[in-house]
């Protein structure tokens, strides 16, 4: 059977990691490629780069980061941030990414999901949904979680799955940065609604937070940033915690 994936996520701006990263034995903690390599060696199952650059120059440096990562890390890489067209995806995939995450552009124009899936295949199309509690349900937010789209998260997840998305990267904006654990109710609501894989994100405060997202929330993968970057937890500890809780991870060769 498929194993639970652990995915460290790096925020990149102008080719450099932005959130302070405190990593043991790393000469340049601002170099996303060095971090990617460290995570690769630790046994991460996938990597995610989130490009938070606004400028064109920054975008070019992101391509360079992807190329250099793909030169050294033989593992799946997802890149998100600023993807607005099928051609953007083609450019990122050609540089060495395996999947591209779209957020705002898919919310504004869901047909873009179909166009991207048609162009590069569903397996490369990840829809990043930033969800926040609204009444009894959850709403979809854009622009880094600042702007409400007026869409319901569950309905939107169903829509993008129908349009050909290959995976959903689900971030709880209520939990993001709080370290209070994943939003299990949100995760379960989305995984119950769609049959494509779902990556749970937002709120990981310790390695024991991962298993509930899989076992109760029904997610296929967990994504976290700060707890790995600041050395609070290693990938190995996350792997053991998941295994012990009954959410098997792959054995490392």
């Amino acid at each position: 059977m498929l194993k639970t994936r652990i995915i460290p996520c790096l925020d990149v701006k102008d080719g450099r990691t932005v959130k302070g990263v405190n990593f043991v034995d790393l000469r340049d903690a601002g170099d996303p490629v060095a971090l990617a390599k460290a995570y690769d060696e630790q046994g991460a199952d996938e990597l995610c780069f989130l490009d938070i650059t606004a400028s064109h120059e920054g975008r070019a440096s992101m391509l360079d980061v992807i190329e250099r990562t793909a030169d050294q890390c033989f593992m799946p890489v997802t890149v998100g941030g600023g993807v607005r067209s099928p051609d953007d995806m083609v450019t990122l995939l050609a540089a060495g990414a395996d999947k591209c995450a779209i957020n705002t552009a898919a919310v504004t124009d869901p047909d873009l999901v179909r166009a991207c899936a048609r162009k590069v295949g569903s397996q490369a199309v990840v829809i990043a949904i930033d969800a926040r509690r609204e009444g009894d349900g959850w709403g979809v937010y854009t622009h880094g979680g600042r702007k409400s789209s007026g869409r319901n998260a569950v309905e939107f997840a169903k829509l993008v799955a129908e349009l050909g998305a290959g995976e959903i990267l689900l971030t709880s904006m209520d939990r993001d940065g709080t370290k209070s654990g994943f939003d299990i109710a949100l995760t379960k609501a989305i995984t119950d609604a769609v049959s494509i894989p779902v990556i749970a994100s937002g709120g990981a405060g310790g390695v024991d937070d991962f298993a509930p997202a899989i076992l109760e929330g029904g997610a296929n993968a967990v994504l976290a940033a700060s707890i790995f970057h600041f050395g609070e937890a290693t990938i190995a500890q996350a792997r053991s915690a998941l295994n012990d809780a009954g959410a098997p991870v792959r054995p490392l060769p």
Partner: protein
């Protein structure tokens, strides 16, 4: 002696990833390899080994291959007549089948009789695409030799190949049923998974392919 590897570049994705992974795998076994990302029939006919990658739609990949003048003829000559070791990856493997059923019917190369159809696990709770790391159960084959216990590799696909002849199945995986993870026939080998994305296990498989003398 330089080993020339023709990595077929026909507009169907991740040629660069495959190229880097092959280069690294060659280094690991100290093989002097020259990797040509090419759609030139001359390169294909002159190569010692041939790798056909592929991601995306079956019909698009087949059309991509057909649109490169002389490529299918050169592949047929090199692989089917001259016996060059061949590796197909993901859709590159699926194209070996006789027929693909993704969005309508598309004829494949037909070198390994079989059909590529939607992956349908008996458990409807299982997510499709089948995406992530899964264990493979290999049969005895040089390309899958010495992978250690419980080898895991990276998959990402919604369609799977079934073989008319069981003897062409090189490995299976479990996902609400047993499905084809790799195929083999004479000098041809194909993987549904991505060895170029499967870290050390993938490197070992690619190194094995580069050493394989069918």
């Amino acid at each position: 002696m330089v080993t020339t590897i023709a990595l077929i570049d026909y507009g169907a994705g991740n040629v660069r990833s495959a190229s880097r992974a092959l280069a690294r795998s060659a280094e690991l076994i100290e093989l002097d390899a020259k990797i040509l990302m090419t759609a030139d029939p001359e390169d294909i006919l002159g190569a010692d080994r041939i790798v056909l990658p592929g991601v995306g739609h079956y019909a698009d990949c087949m059309a991509g291959l057909q649109s490169r003048p002389g490529v299918i003829d050169a592949l047929t000559e090199a692989v089917r007549h001259n016996g060059r070791p061949f590796l197909g990856i993901c859709v590159g493997m699926q194209l070996l089948a006789s027929l693909g059923l993704e969005d309508g019917e598309t004829d494949g190369l037909g070198w390994i009789p079989g059909v590529v159809d939607r992956l349908e696990p008996w458990d409807s709770e299982l997510a499709i695409p089948h995406m992530g790391w899964n264990e493979i159960f290999p049969r005895s084959h040089a390309v899958l030799a010495d992978l250690g216990d419980n080898p895991h590799v990276y998959f990402t696909h919604s369609y799977a190949m079934s073989c008319e002849d069981e003897n062409h199945i090189a490995a299976t995986f479990d996902y609400g049923g047993s499905f084809v993870a790799a195929v083999m026939r004479d000098n041809m080998f194909g993987t549904q998974f991505h060895p170029e994305k499967s870290q050390k296990t993938g490197q070992k498989i690619l190194s094995n392919f580069l050493k394989w003398n069918p």
